[in-house]
């Protein structure tokens, strides 16, 4: 798997004002000069980066730096917030997500999302996973059973719940609920998985399980993960983007960001001098 680099980035550190018009052909998500506003206040400034396919890209940065806002812009979850709007280019497989004719329903099916605090529906485990499939029109019981099982297997939860598929999802532990939410997102077969601090509400053991899961999943899915835990980012991701105050400060291979950061602020952050 070739890792494509933004041709301009190798010459100097990424700056928010970069207006590179060429998009890398192997990148799954291409972002060019993306701004985001909550009402009158601008919270994202000219974000430009490429997320390569089938890799894990981590977004790190201090609280309030805009990483959650950014990740939610990719699948346009921010649309449900009143007075919020984004401008710029976010392309998935070459198609602009913010084009006026974008079908947000379809978009969100192809881009799965897992949230900071697990939010299973108050239904059975089976019904949770099947939800996305059912609203998509799938009625066939056999197909549903197959896909639910496949999703639970992929989310490394099958063994633990296979005997109580029709039991309540709320009865699962926090870590299990989060894996359930991952399985639920996987069920509709997205190509991209967005994870907004998926393990921050979990204990260390459950966190490890999630991280292992992410490692397994990246064979099939392009994963973008927001985390405030730098060790996690270092463990889990191939590329890391460092955000601060709504700007993308530095972006590159995880190894480089942590061992050999180009910007001083990046170095300060990853060495724990602030944040």
């Amino acid at each position: 798997m070739t890792i494509t680099m933004d041709p301009l980035r190798s010459e100097r550190p990424a700056r928010p004002q970069e207006k590179a018009m060429t998009t890398s052909t192997a990148s799954k998500i291409s972002v060019r000069d993306f701004n985001f506003y909550y009402g009158p206040s601008k919270v994202l400034h000219g974000i430009t980066l490429d997320v390569p396919a089938q890799q894990v890209t981590a977004l790190i940065g201090p609280s309030g730096c805009g990483k959650s806002t950014f990740i939610r812009s990719i699948n346009r979850m921010n649309d449900i917030i009143p007075d919020a709007h984004g401008e710029g280019l976010i392309e998935i497989d070459g198609k602009n997500v913010y084009a006026p004719d974008t079908d947000t329903v379809e978009l969100r099916r192809s881009v799965g999302m897992v949230f900071q605090k697990s939010n299973p529906f108050p239904k059975s485990i089976f019904d949770n996973i099947a939800y996305g499939l059912r609203i998509g029109g799938m009625r066939n019981k056999r197909e549903l059973n197959e896909l639910v099982e496949k999703s639970l297997v992929r989310a490394a939860l099958w063994d633990e719940v296979k005997d109580r598929l029709h039991g309540p999802a709320m009865a699962l532990s926090g870590g299990q609920q989060q894996r359930l939410c991952i399985a639920r997102a996987l069920a509709v077969n997205p190509e991209i998985l967005l994870m907004d601090e998926p393990a921050s509400a979990l204990d260390p053991i459950a966190t490890t399980k999630i991280e292992e899961l992410i490692y397994e999943l990246k064979d099939r899915y392009t994963i973008v993960i927001v985390t405030h835990n730098m060790q996690q980012a270092a463990r889990v991701s191939d590329r890391t983007a460092f955000f601060m105050l709504g700007k993308l400060v530095e972006y590159g291979e995880t190894r480089d960001i942590f061992m050999n950061p180009k910007e001083k602020i990046t170095e300060d952050y990853v060495t724990g001098r602030f944040g």
Binding site: D103, V105, G136
Partner: protein, 283 residues
């Protein structure tokens, strides 16, 4: 897949439209009622309405002066009973929120809130009318008081709970006893809200008819004697409405108009009074 998505989006649009329609449908009777009350009622208001007592059928110029006064007397009596009991009960519930007794009382207040007003009327009948074998304004006031009680209790309790604990601690630190602290510091601080609760409760009982039918009954003549039956706007409107006479129908509409005005005024005064007192208490 896309045709499925299109179908779902259409369904979503239709459903959202239906919800908006529901709002419009609910507004239709509201508008109609106000329209008719204003149209039929306002036009039938005249000086005689306010100053005269009812006249026999056929005679022109009858009014509802006694009924207007009667309603005011009845809600006054109701407040006399419900305000002290309700406020102090609210005080107890807010001071001892977790005791089992408080839980039971709170539950009882909720139950009382849901009892149909006519059943409360029967209770007042047994309590006040039966022993003296006479209908009276007092009986009506008691019935309305019972109906006011849960509203006053609940709003008082909620408002007292909202008073910051710093206020109470400050009073106690200055050596005030608990009762002193509550009555001289905490209740005054919550007064705007408590008054609102009382006004809201008054607005609700001013419109009651059923419990009055056999407690305060009715009175064609001018009377302010609370030991006697007394007229009220609501009962008078009812009596006139079910009669076969056009003139009385017109007066019924006028009475209804006045009733709605009184209730709206009470509600608006409640809101304004709160704002004014709040501004006074918090510089």
């Amino acid at each position: 897949m896309t045709s499925n998505a299109r179908r779902r989006k259409i369904i979503s649009r239709i459903a959202e439209t239906c919800c908006a329609l529901a709002v419009l449908i609910a507004l239709v009777p509201l508008v109609m009622i106000f329209f008719y009350v204003i149209k039929e009622g306002f036009g039938s208001l005249n000086l005689a309405f306010f100053t005269n007592t009812p006249k026999p059928v056929g005679e022109v110029g009858g009014g509802m002066a006694n009924a207007i006064v009667g309603t005011l007397i009845l809600i006054g009596l109701a407040a006399l009973f419900a305000v002290p009991v309700g406020v102090i009960c609210g005080v107890h519930l807010s001071e001892y929120p977790d005791s089992r007794f408080s839980a039971i009382v709170r539950f009882a207040a909720d139950v009382l809130n849901g009892v149909p007003s006519i059943v409360v009327g029967i209770f007042a009948y047994g309590l006040v009318v039966l022993p003296v074998k006479r209908f009276s304004a007092i009986a009506g006031g008691v019935a309305l008081g019972f109906l006011m009680l849960p509203i006053v209790v609940r709003s008082t309790e909620e408002l007292l709970r909202l008073v910051p604990s710093g206020l109470r601690e400050g009073a106690l630190a200055l050596g005030a006893t608990r009762s002193r602290a509550v009555f001289t510091v905490i209740i005054p601080a919550a007064l705007p809200g408590i008054l609102t609760g009382i006004l809201v409760a008054l607005a609700r009982v001013a419109g009651e008819t059923a419990p009055l039918l056999f407690t305060s009954f009715n009175n064609q003549f001018w009377s302010t004697n609370i030991a006697q039956p007394i007229a009220s706007l609501t009962v008078q409107v009812f009596t006139y409405a079910i009669s076969p006479y056009d003139d009385w129908h017109r007066q019924a509409w006028a009475g209804a108009f006045l009733l709605v005005m009184i209730i709206l005024t009470l509600s608006i005064v409640a809101r304004l009074a709160v704002r004014r007192l709040e501004r006074m208490n918090r510089p």
